[in-house]
Symmetry: D2
Subunit: 341 residues, 4 copies
């Protein structure tokens, strides 16, 4: 149906080096033409068993930043901060009187319960862009040349959601769960956080891993700490934080590809550096990772606690349990990832 | 501030046996007067280390039911099914032309990106009651006599959310994660699912554990399978599914208390049976578990895969990773719990 | 840019009579190729002046059904009932104590205000499909053969909203306001309401107008009462109400066209009868009215009070003020229409 | 039940002059102890008949600012800008293929329709704080000393909404509709707009009315133009616009009371000046108007077109049709008010 593994790309003309990289790392068809999980195929039962052996201290270290009105999203854009509202709260104790005069079955139901019995409940809603805070990008979150990962057409993503490479095929496998490896770039450089324009190149990934004494294995979930989340906490400037951020170079795609990396997460808004690396190519690493490799990206993870813990015990590997919320057809999903050490 | 551990209860007059149970299982002050996590205190580093040793096959088994428009919530109540909407989809490829004529900075930003570079993204929102599907009840979800767990006042739950015993103190510890034990009541009874009015008594919990050959330990998260989720899948009747459901008796509270259980989850809407067990006491187990014991409840978990897997290998214990979404001030939270075996 | 006034239609082959009607009533280009308001062009300053002279008793008669959780939308569809939630309510009086310990600037702001001054406020949100209750369909709500009214491409309606023939060009003119004429079909037939399958043909519109003694004029907004809203109030069956409803025939399109009608509203969910009139053509009147004529449709209007009032005084004409909520890019809009008599 | 017309006020001690004003303008009980519409009682049938006679040119002048992502609300507060999202758009034309593989009844319904017939529809949602843009404050929006207008308890406003003095008793009367009078303060002062701290005193209201040659009558809806909306359009600074705004003094309460004014609207965020006029009393005019007088306030109205029109023809009076959206239990409501001249 979608035999387009070697689709001619309008991008090739723009930057030949990037185009050669795209060609090299493209995993389309590698796990079958119906594959919807991409590089998560690298996470084998053996990898999970091994990851569980890393739980030695019995510690849980969460990486989910709080979902509330005070996050890094702005006032006007497509993405806003989460809105949390109560539908019943603890100040509604006179509900039994009031609801009697009220108008509908729900309120009558509440009133009846409250009149005959002492139990009281509270309830709430959330309204949120799925990528407003700590999240996974689904493979369907990014595309070019009208094609998603594995050659699925971009038109698979309609107003009803994504019918291909959405969050649900991932969530229904309990992913992303496996061995996590932290590469603490900021600590390795000896800085609180990288500056807004700073880029991380592939050789620095090697250098950090070596300095930390951690081996990279097939099926790893690589977690990159730039320290940029501290900049959010310090300045809380939603007008600049997401748009001027340090991160990795698109040139790292090959590094992940060669090491059979399963996924990459970071403490900034887009894993990659926000500064344009190639004139005329916006988000070049997203294009390679999500669309060509089929490798999911985790964004806005709070890596302060895990960074401190790894530095303290010298162990930069852990069981990472980061299952996406199972939202049907979603192109991203919030989550609360945890490291078990 | 809240020295009300032995508060006189208006409920005592209603049912003396229930009141004695409440007195017995009440954990207020047990872990300090500021404690906000209740029986999760039973999950020690040792318990987590032990749970990790249960990961032997390298399998991940998810328990999160899909979050979409087709769930068990009704048309009119406080709780509705999740609403998932796209803010940018794959059919918006002509955006670069259209957005030029458009009115605001966001659209201009999209138009500019699309004009100069081939990358395309998609994005989405969710609008949902936090307890519309697979979820944890926070301790602040239920109370009586104006007091929450540990004696915190019910007025702590305002329109702004819960400032005490909310989801965030749990989520910020990466909980609930530990050893999970499945008690498969339906399979033990040899039925597809329990009937709507059937109740599970404490001695049946013992009998099932014994028959399954699983030992109950301190800090366990007990997962109860009634098979009722199959009734949802079979009939998809949102008018009755949640309101007529089998489940455990309030009398099980003591059983959990005696075994230092950390949390309880089930595949129905409220863990406990919906049929009234005590005239004049609505949700008697919720009152005991959430408010008196400080023990969180997991609801609407899809236990079909884990049930089949445990029956197949005879091992009813696993590492359960079920971290709540970190929504500040929430009284409940959606999640995608996973079992690692 | 869009010279497609005589576009060959895939529909012509399906039903030649319908296709001839479409050809006849199509107003594309009639008011210029950039026109976005269609038959509202029939509402002249003279028509408005005349409508104002109909205000003789000083009465206001509203036609907006209540927006709340108990409307006619179902549990699972694209359209649900409105969700109204409070963000601050009257039970939050202890907010000044609690918010001090809280986490963000908003809450601090509330706490500061509450601490220093006695004023208290309440606040709320609504979450709603724009067409969940009393509403106008924008011209961009319906199309066929990839073209909207006046030949604008259907791709004008992206995830960002409609950039052509949306609600805003209407709302920014204060429309729809003009002379309203009630045609009370149910009262004329002497029934409480039409039965679910009953259709209103053009000659009945003439008969009702004649019997009511009301003249139809250029630029009128014709309001059709079938009584079907009473069926909602009586049975409150969201599973059938919207899907089995009486209404007008697509053959009435010509009647409105010949009389220079500005807009049509009714007390059912789609103005036209829900029963299929032509095999293979779903919503044939919507196709003609919104897409070919450029004539907006009002739906789920509560016409009980206006029906009773017109019957009482024998005057079926009034100043109708029905301005759409000014939502940018919307393809429909809720409103509270009023008749002034 | 609520015989508290002369409630001792904790405010009296704070500012005796303000307290005397509150005592003077308090209308509790004036229209019966069950009255929920306050000063709208001043709008008589005669007043409406008279207002209709003001429609002489056949012009409609709307005053609803656009509801979209680009309004004056901020990124973090209780109030955000409206979120408009499409649930079906014009790029979803391949839905008939995709939806077949999809998962639920709604999608099947769309797919079936699309397969058998050429009609296509689009649909959308809005998510918005009810007071995020052009709006009416309900009387239940503000209170002090635990009492709402007419002595209703503040606890009438629960998480379920307001059961007293909400928007619905107003909307169900088709209000607010009557004679509108524009007092164009900015034009009278000869400035584009008042400066952020400037206050309008009662004598200036008299002076402007006199200069404009307009008589104030019982039941008028007074519309105050400060020009401040131009500051929004010019600077679009959501961080300051709403919080530093010119407006009327609380001392004007008496002026409105003496003239039997029905309601007051303005082009700023709160009608009254944002600068504190009385130490220790936040929003002193809101307290008087909404709670004591029972007089509703309209906010964030776009008065630029009506201002220009009145200046051009010298007529500052019109039929104002400003019916609130009929949201059950709401404490505010969006609308698109129109002037008919």
């Amino acid at each position: 149906m979608h035999d387009c593994r070697h689709s001619p790309s309008m991008n090739a003309d723009r930057d030949p080096e990037w185009a050669r990289m795209a060609e090299k790392v493209r995993n389309w068809g590698r796990w079958g033409e119906d594959d919807q999980i991409g590089t998560l195929n690298h996470i084998t039962p053996g990898a999970i068993r091994h990851a569980a052996t890393l739980v030695r201290a019995g510690k849980i270290i969460p990486m989910g930043a709080p979902l509330n009105a005070h996050g890094p999203q702005g006032a006007h854009g497509l993405r806003r901060n989460p809105i949390h509202v109560m539908t019943v709260d603890g100040g509604d104790r006179q509900l039994e009187q009031l609801a009697k005069e009220w108008r509908g079955p729900t309120e009558q139901w509440v009133a009846d319960l409250y009149e005959k019995a002492p139990g009281r409940f509270t309830d709430d809603y959330v309204i949120m862009p799925l990528q407003s805070c700590t999240q996974w990008d689904a493979l369907s979150h990014f595309f070019y040349d009208d094609l998603l990962y594995n050659g699925f057409p971009a038109s698979s993503v309609t107003s009803l959601g994504a019918s291909r490479v959405a969050i649900d095929p991932i969530a229904e496998r309990g992913h992303i769960t496996g061995r996590g490896v932290l590469l603490d770039i900021a600590r390795h450089r000896g800085v609180e956080h990288l500056a807004a324009d700073e880029v991380v190149m592939p050789d620095e990934l090697d250098a950090v891993a070596a300095a930390q004494g951690v081996e990279i294995r097939d099926g790893d979930i690589i977690v990159i700490r730039t320290g940029w989340y501290l900049d959010w906490l310090a300045r809380r400037d939603e007008q600049s934080w997401a748009w001027q951020a340090p991160g990795i170079s698109w040139r790292c795609a090959e590094w992940f590809h060669d090491r059979n990396t399963a996924a990459v997460a970071a403490d900034n808004v887009g894993v990659e550096v926000m500064k344009s690396e190639i004139e005329g190519l916006w988000s070049p690493f997203h294009m390679l990772a999500l669309r060509d490799m089929g490798m999911m990206l985790g964004e806005i993870w709070d890596l302060e606690a895990i960074g401190a813990d790894c530095a303290a015990d010298g162990r930069y590997e852990f069981l990472l349990s980061a299952p996406a919320l199972n939202i049907s057809g979603a192109v991203g999903a919030p989550l609360n990832p945890i490291a078990l050490k």
